[in-house]
Symmetry: C2
């Protein structure tokens, strides 16, 4: 937690916030802060600034806050990701927010087990919390846009052409196309399959709407490492 994110409901006046729970515990136990100390704070989807601790109780913390900086720029990157297995969802969503990805579309795919869609990790509250964790790590305040699409074909045929408009559409898939390029630094829509990869039919559907294949060489990486590796290469 390199920045404490504040919600509208934390504000008791324009320059004063109060909260309890995980953020209080972190400030007490990890930072070891005391009254008078400052912590970096940010308004959710707003500016970054500093907070000075004015009250520090066992159950409540009060900060005087001021804001003066914009959050870091997002990468102009939309990731189309086959739903990961439930135990990986938290880490992947946190990483997406941490890396500064602008938009994430989570989709179905043949190799996604149906039961994955029932995971409590996909509850709106949990997804929000994972994204917040990533933002607090990266000192960002701006939530990425996240959406879920349970039907592959209608999504690819009807929605994806609009999403990729104005961007370069890349499909990461073993042995497909060229080795992943570096430092494109432009708007990109990047499709990443599930563990085991998209099936040939899905690859063809994505190619049909304009995706070009790229690969990461002979090594098959876990989805979360592939996502981080591709993002790192594509942007400076």
């Amino acid at each position: 937690m390199n920045l404490i994110l504040l919600n509208a409901s934390d504000f008791i006046s324009e320059s004063c916030v109060q909260f309890e729970g995980a953020r209080l515990a972190h400030i007490q136990n990890v930072h070891g802060s005391k009254i008078g100390d400052t912590v970096r704070v940010g308004q959710l989807d707003g500016l970054i600034g500093l907070g000075t601790i004015t009250e520090l109780g066992q159950h409540k913390l009060t900060l005087e806050v001021s804001f003066d900086q914009k959050p870091p720029a997002k990468l102009p990157l939309t990731i189309i990701l086959a739903l990961p297995r439930p135990k990986m969802i938290r880490r992947i969503f946190r990483t997406v927010a941490e890396l500064g990805v602008e938009r994430l579309c989570v989709i179905n795919s043949y190799r996604v087990e149906k039961s994955f869609w029932q995971s409590p990790a996909l509850d709106e509250h949990n997804v929000h919390q994972y994204l917040i964790e990533g933002l607090q790590q990266a000192k960002d305040t701006a939530l990425p846009q996240v959406s879920f699409h349970k039907r592959f074909k209608p999504f690819v045929e009807d929605e994806l052409p609009g999403i990729i408009e104005g961007s370069q559409a890349l499909l990461a898939h073993p042995s497909l196309g060229e080795s992943c390029p570096h430092q494109l630094n432009r708007p990109i829509t990047l499709a990443i399959g599930p563990e085991g990869g998209f099936i040939p039919y899905e690859v063809e559907k994505l190619q049909a709407v304009g995706f070009e294949g790229i690969h990461l060489g002979k090594r098959i990486l876990k989805v979360e490492n592939a996502l981080t590796t591709l993002t790192a290469k594509l942007y400076s």
Copy 2:
């Protein structure tokens, strides 16, 4: 598990292996394989090939194997890493093997809690197992070289000059030096601090033996994401 790694003790003849345990469970439950099916296999620190299932019992699997391919090349990369917190050790060691890092030196640092060195995750058997998991994911057979160095100053002064010889020595640290370069594709020694970073004294000691600072921009990434991101940028 995209490849099943075989130890010398699995061989009952030159072209026949037998094993039980996690690898058997994976072939049965994840691959859903049956007699006559083939699986990709590799000899630990040796060649890659195919195995044909000739016997498949509840407690034992027999494969006829042949080997004909070299594993993918390692990256000419040595990572000097401050000991991560115990719950991250498995993931980070697995990732180091998965990405093809040649050598990992795990070191002490001011911000590493002393108790971390007592973690069972550092037992030789466990470390070996985490590396094997990474190799089996990436279809590699060659173990990275891993060593542990509990005293920062003697390591940096006495051992590090020999380790970095013939390589470019880079220190990843927020706001230090230039933005991380892309596609250096040459021998590199890369130092990565703990969560919270190396302290100024440690940065100076590393610079004194020849490390140049590089950074990843305004976002502060978790150690495992920083490691993957840096490796992805530095090599094609």
